[in-house]
Amino acid sequence: MKTYVLAKFADEGAVLSAARALREGGHRALDIHSPVPIHGAEEALGLRPSKIPTLALLAGLTGAATAFLMQWWMVGFNYPINVGNRPPLSLPAFIPIIFELTVLFAAGAIFFGVMILAGFPRTHHPVFEVEGFRSASIDGIWLSAEVESLDAHPMVDQLRTLGAGQVSIVPEDLQVVTP
């Protein structure tokens, strides 16, 4: 039985300290929403560094290998043709395409990496149920906590004490409660 508790904070410092406090209190399922990246958020929420760079590297290498093997097999092995007296396997001539495919594969991996790791597309999320949450992409700074429905109200109080402004509960049935 999952329930989301959303709390709006006045400034970045407040939300960070609240997040830290809650983590110390043993809450792991926390998230911070803000129109711009908040420095320290990852640390406050204890997020590990992104896997994107590794993905990009692997994809890039794959691209390079693909490009080279493709050209080598096609013109060097499958149908070698005498083109203007140049040897079928002229590596320098392969470089441009090797490079381009490296970039193409890496870029693709990066973009779709974000899509998958960030769970896009996800047009609906319980937090969207809170009308006020619309400010999260404009100027609002929010903290969301995912709790058992029974723990929702205690969490509300805790957040209040941590200096939250408006607090809302989004239960399973998505009927927003604003205590």
Binding site: I52, G84, E100, I110, A118, I138
Partner: protein
């Protein structure tokens, strides 16, 4: 929004103009940036789009004629087998490069003045590359077989010829377009979310909501997003260089005097940035006015771009000097003639116009008075575009029309179809840009917000490091 007169000039004598006029809060920034999308359509915009559509129609007509009649509808001949088609291709590709340069390279170098102009520049890149991409397809004698340029397993058992620069072009241009698009779209997502949340009409919110993909500004999003954005920038930077290098290979690997030159790659890249920045100015000067965003796109931005134009212009001039010097010093009679012919042959007019626009005119930018005058800047930027188009014309047509065998020398005269295609692409490009201004934020709201935080921090004396820049992605040890 609060704009006190004393904030119009920063105190730094070297950087007299501020990056941002005033210190609008997040909501104001969002409103200022999104206002042009919400506000009712204006007459001027409509008229421009109408004009553009006429050009698009012209483009469509010219394309139809070309496909129906064949390349014979153009002025191309033997010896001048490439003319307006490839000239325009190179010109458009070059223009595109400025966008990537601004958004990627300036990002890597942590140039803050990129922040409020990169969105427009990237859009320009996209549209320019689209226009460029049209020509390689159009210029084929048998466009219905364009797919033979891709390495797919056909029943012929035959593959493309990987030694041909044209094939490299196919890969370079398609990669370039894809990456530029991903980069642009990724940067757009947070603003699309703002549009989703801030727009009035439900249908607007729905549409933008779909494209926002469900962005929640969550810390989980941001941590992937920031590194992804940075890495894409890191990839786009060498890509941009490679693309125009490969374009220059189309000429450099040939045996033709005037084409067969080793300095082409750097010289082409410099030229590309040169013309690209000029095009950015040409578009941005009216755009910032129309959008009412003079306080985000300030004189500082314009002046910086003017400086880049001046710098790259000098690199291009160096290229001119060198290629002519080597033509003379190299002692190859064919080479020497090719360059002599540019300034003394039937196309001398093109050569001297090019020199005026690319060598003389940019020198005006040495003077702050001139480079900080919006009107002057705009005129100069247009002249540079003209000059750079003529440079490609001179390289391609003028080198071809008189090569090794005097008996096969000839003259190239464009037909109405050539002109229509050229004008048509410009119109299509302009129309797309106008639509872009109406559909999405022309300035990245989220990045402006960040910038403001940085500026605030600086004002508070904390220095840049107090507020992290996008490029700093690792959480500091706690």
């Amino acid at each position: 929004m609060s704009t006190a007169p004393n904030q119009l000039l920063a105190d730094d004598p070297l950087e007299p103009y501020p990056l941002m006029v005033g210190r609008p809060d997040d909501r104001t920034v969002t409103e200022d940036v999104l206002r042009p999308i919400w506000r009712p359509t204006r007459k001027g915009w409509l008229m421009l789009v109408g004009l553009g559509s006429v050009g698009v129609a012209l483009f469509g007509l010219a394309v139809t004629v070309t496909f129906a009649v064949g390349i014979g509808a153009w002025g191309n001949n033997i010896p001048v087998a490439w003319a307006f088609d490839i000239t325009n291709f190179v010109w458009w590709i070059g223009i595109g490069h400025a966008g990537t340069l601004i958004s990627a390279i300036l990002l890597l170098f942590q140039q803050r003045w990129r922040t409020s102009i990169n969105r427009m520049a990237e859009a320009m890149t996209l549209f320019a590359v689209m226009m460029a991409g049209a020509y390689p397809l159009l210029h084929l004698g048998r466009p219905q077989f364009f797919y033979w340029l891709f390495p797919y397993p056909s029943t012929l058992g035959l593959w493309p010829q990987f030694k041909s620069p044209l094939l490299w072009d196919v890969f370079a241009v398609s990669t370039y377009f894809t990456v530029s698009f991903l980069f642009w779209y990724l940067g757009l997502i947070p603003d699309l979310a703002s549009l989703r949340d801030a727009s009035k009409h439900r249908w607007q919110r729905m549409v933008y909501g779909i494209f926002a993909l469900g962005w929640r500004g969550s810390a989980h999003h941001w941590r992937h997003y920031r590194i992804a954005y940075l890495l894409l920038a890191g990839l786009a930077t060498p890509l941009v260089l490679s693309v125009h290098t490969i374009v220059s290979f189309d000429f450099a690997v040939s045996v033709l005097p005037g084409w067969h030159t080793t300095i082409f790659p750097p010289y082409f890249v410099a030229g590309a940035i040169f013309s690209g920045f000029a095009m950015v100015l040409t578009l941005m000067i009216p755009a910032r006015r129309y959008l009412g965003l003079e306080h985000f796109v300030t004189m500082r931005h314009l002046e910086n771009m003017a400086k880049v134009i001046l710098a790259t212009g000098l690199m291009v001039d160096y290229g001119y000097v060198m290629e002519n010097f080597f033509a003379w010093y190299g002692g190859n009679p064919y080479e020497a003639f090719a360059f002599w012919n540019r300034s003394h042959g039937p196309y001398a007019w093109a050569f001297f116009t090019q020199m005026t626009c690319n060598v003389l005119v940019p020198q005006l930018l040495w003077f702050r008075k001139l480079r900080t005058s919006v009107a002057v800047l705009w005129v100069i930027s247009i002249l540079v575009n003209v000059g750079m188009w003529l440079e490609r014309f001179n390289i391609i047509v003028v080198s071809l029309h008189r090569d090794f065998m005097p008996t096969m020398w000839g003259i190239y005269t464009p037909t109405w179809v050539d002109w229509s295609l050229f004008i048509g692409t410009i119109a299509t490009f302009g129309t797309l840009f106008l639509l872009f201004l109406r559909a999405v934020p022309a300035v990245s709201a989220s990045e402006v917000k960040e910038l403001r935080r940085q500026l605030d921090a600086e004002a508070a004396g904390g220095g840049t490091h107090a507020v992290p820049h996008l490029s700093q992605t690792r959480p500091e040890a706690s």
